[in-house]
Symmetry: C2
Subunit: 211 residues, 2 copies
């Protein structure tokens, strides 16, 4: 296997933390998103959508999407499960994971990509080399979604140590990466959201947070 990665980007980080928690190591190829290397001809030959992370299997098959790669790795290396053991855990984790992804991670991307000069002509990921102009109105809409995300997170974490219960899951990892991503656009955990701040401190102290 070979993992096309990008050290600075928030989505590849979700996968690296997942792998660190499970003790999985895969050789990496670093791709520079800021300079647009992911939409250059060499990488588009690997992944026509230009998305990172992308996993290349030994038979040459490539696939992208963090959750698809996590799903593959969890099935291959079932120890330290982060996507749930029982049917109920699996459903709940995927549901919470997706909330954190849509309202935290993707909303962050709306705010960031529609204002950062490097992304003004590629305002959504997945467009390959195509020009996708920024839509400034999405900055406000993304910020509004992020506000809902923090409200949801705080009300959830007042009742549970981790998002899906007593142990760490992919839902926590996605939420953590979303929060650190929000720092890029000067957003973050609202003052007074104590349960979220406590949870964040515990997650951030784990060695995997450095991955």
């Amino acid at each position: 296997m070979k993992l096309y990665d990008c050290a600075m980007a928030p989505n590849p980080r979700r996968l690296r933390i997942f792998m660190a928690e499970k003790g999985i190591e895969i050789p990496k190829v670093e791709i520079n998103i800021l300079e647009g290397e992911n939409t250059g001809p060499a990488f588009l030959a690997v992944n026509p959508r230009g998305l990172l992370p992308t996993l290349q299997l030994d038979d040459g098959t490539c696939f992208d999407e963090v959750m698809a790669i996590c799903r593959y790795l969890e099935a291959l290396y079932p120890w330290q499960p982060l996507l749930g053991r029982t049917p109920r855990e699996q459903g709940l984790i995927e549901s919470l994971q997706r909330k954190a992804e849509f309202d935290g991670m993707i909303a962050g991307s709306e705010v960031f990509r529609n204002q950062h000069p490097a992304f003004l002509s590629r305002s959504i990921p997945g467009g390959g080399g195509q020009t996708i102009p920024a839509i400034p109105a999405l900055i406000e809409r993304g910020s509004q979604t992020i506000e809902r995300f923090y409200g949801w997170l705080e009300s959830l974490l007042q009742h549970t140590p981790f998002l899906a219960g007593d142990s760490l899951s992919m839902a926590d990892i996605t939420a953590l990466c979303a929060i650190d991503f929000h720092g890029w656009v000067k957003l973050g955990i609202p003052p007074g959201n104590k349960a979220t701040a406590d949870w964040y401190g515990r997650l951030n102290a784990r060695p995997s947070a450095q991955a």
Copy 2:
């Protein structure tokens, strides 16, 4: 179990086709999205995001997100698997499923919700009762994404009978529902995309397509 459903909406349909293919039946409660019943107080008490479908378990736990509910049901009823048997199948199906979801289903939602009078103040799903104004520029951006979706689909289906290989998977179901959803905004399979038209005909002929 109890399933909060909406007969007309494309995302609940993904789940109903998944259930029909596996022969799963769950008692349903119909919620009218067009009239905004999903953002009224009664349903927001069940799901604060107002999203459909929502599954309620016998212990009272509710969760939303089609893929989370499918994940739960696939773990509970593993026959006729639609999310993959081997690790490779599981990763590949989730990767393709998400492409169809983002570039087909969500792009369709961008085009539809930002122009239909009933959704002008709730232009993204998941906002509960909050006002989320339409952003007309998303109509064009969504249409551009849908164009990429059809190009991707055609090039894939020229080499394989179903998206992930020789048998039906959730990736096909999501793509089918996205295509029928595009009909709402007068978009659809481009003339000349023969492999896609053939595949669509085969899928649409299955009894599950009526679910």
